[in-house]
Symmetry: C2
DNA sequence: ACCAGTTCTTCTCATCATGAGTTTTTCTCG
DNA sequence: CGAGAAAAACTCATGATGAGAAGAACTGGT
């Protein structure tokens, strides 16, 4: 099967053309995970402080090499999502319910000084995650507020490599998908109230919503939430009616969508990665 | 810099940990392109008949290895979009205007019998593309109607590998993005009429639209299209008012979106790739 | 027991978007 | 010049939306 190497320059026109693996320049494939959660109305994402060169000491997304084959480091990752969960599990405890979704792959030639590296980024949403375990191979890991990153936040958190770009893409993806999918429930435990759900939207969109209209629209979207018939233990700390408890419905696509009204859909970049 | 190979199993926690490239199992990165166009109201995509084993003779997406480094086959691809355009250019002439967007990356262990292959899929939209050049390294290339693929079409076109899945993802992505972005203009030449635009929507969504309401909604979405002030040469073949010519506006996000009304948003799969 | 304050839920209403159909304008062809 | 065709504008009933008000159910303090 391994026959002619790279003799004809057209012969690599598809990925099963014959070749000798070691005739190719070495490339690496990694996964980076943008793990997002919401705690007390504040959207957070997980960053680790790099313990290895280069960029040692800078904050970065948790990530690691995809294990292509079984080896001394452990068994191969059967698929990319498995690799994403594995590298995240090395940094923090995984929640029982989570939403994992591929964001995109970044492979510019100058991303890494040493070799050609392709990074597959994943977005992971989960209800209030525990604090990361310290130690292990990483110097430090922390849940960082979204707003501390990006535009003019403390330079302390300026992420390594092109991770600022990846994070910006993830945030924009999450914001957009709240409009037309039931993604918001991924930030919540199995049982939640309409107010809990609204607070997710307010946190991610960073804007207050009209509670009464939100309530109406959620119940109008078929399959978004399902009434359990039960009520929560208590209302607010200072009294208040006990809210109904809902669970996520079967639908992922919302009809009609919950649009963030008109203005600013900023950051809608052209999609060439 | 190259120091300790894979001694500690935590040490590959991020992609710049020290390593010896050849200590890793060889992996390959390819790009596959779902090139879409519309001809006479019929949505088409480009398939090539495989000239190499395995699956020789089956139809597949045009694709090829990403060139990680400069080599005998040619210069390295600076970034993934460059690789996508290069492999497509090997099969057909590239249009002057196009929309290129990353779809996702597929990396299941059993995708390829020979080695671990990660395929980055791209979606390319362009106005009526020319017929592919025959010959070169591919046995055959053809523009195939979407409807000939997928569910119960002629088995002749059953695509190789997991390309049916990639194509299905691309079609669903295109259908969805027509709702809330100005993507449809990518199928059209620089100057077009509202009717041209409506025919794109009808072709992609495979359903007739109410012409008058469509017209109203397009003009109501700020920044979608821009009036040139000019009129087209003639109306229909059998007479008719000369339509206004528009060009694409600056906006990519549509407010309000053009929803395909209520029912069927079928094929909304969970996003784990 | 009652009341004030709080929270969830439902209701009203003016406004805007939508689907369906009709009419007007402008063109070609015979 | 008139019939037919296509684009564009209009009408109207219905449904969704934003803003606010009102009702219901609860807590804690008097």
């Amino acid at each position: 099967m391994v026959d002619d190497g790279m003799r004809r320059d057209e012969d690599e026109s598809d990925f099963l053309a014959a070749y000798d693996p070691h005739a190719f320049a070495p490339v690496a494939v990694t996964v980076d995970v943008v793990a997002m959660t919401i705690r007390a109305g504040e959207p957070l994402l997980l960053l680790v402080r790099r313990g290895a060169r280069p960029q040692r000491g800078r904050w970065a997304l948790p990530g690691g090499f995809v294990r292509a084959e079984d080896g001394p480091a452990g068994p191969a990752d059967p698929d990319l999502p498995d690799a994403a969960l594995r590298v995240l599990a090395e940094k923090t405890a995984l929640p029982t319910t989570l939403h994992l979704e591929q964001l995109g792959t970044y492979g510019a030639r100058d991303r890494d000084p040493r070799m050609r590296v392709f990074s597959v980024a994943y977005m992971l949403l989960a209800p209030d995650l525990p604090d990361p375990e310290q130690g292990r191979d990483i110097a430090e890991a922390a849940w960082v507020p979204w707003r501390a990153l990006g535009h003019g936040g403390p330079a302390e958190y300026e992420p390594a490599f092109d991770h600022a770009r990846v994070i910006a893409d993830a945030v924009e993806r999450a914001r957009a998908k709240l409009e037309y999918t039931s993604l918001a429930t991924a930030f919540l435990p199995p049982l939640f109230t309409i107010t809990d759900l609204r607070e997710v939207y307010e946190a991610v969109w960073d804007r207050p919503l009209h509670a009464a209209n939100f309530h109406r629209k959620i119940l109008a979207a078929p399959g978004f939430v399902e009434d359990t018939g039960d009520l929560a233990e208590r209302g607010g700390p200072g009294g208040g009616r006990r809210p109904r408890l809902y669970r996520a419905g079967g639908t992922t696509a919302l009809h009609p969508p919950l649009l963030r009204s008109a203005h600013d859909t900023r950051g809608d970049s052209d999609d060439r990665r």
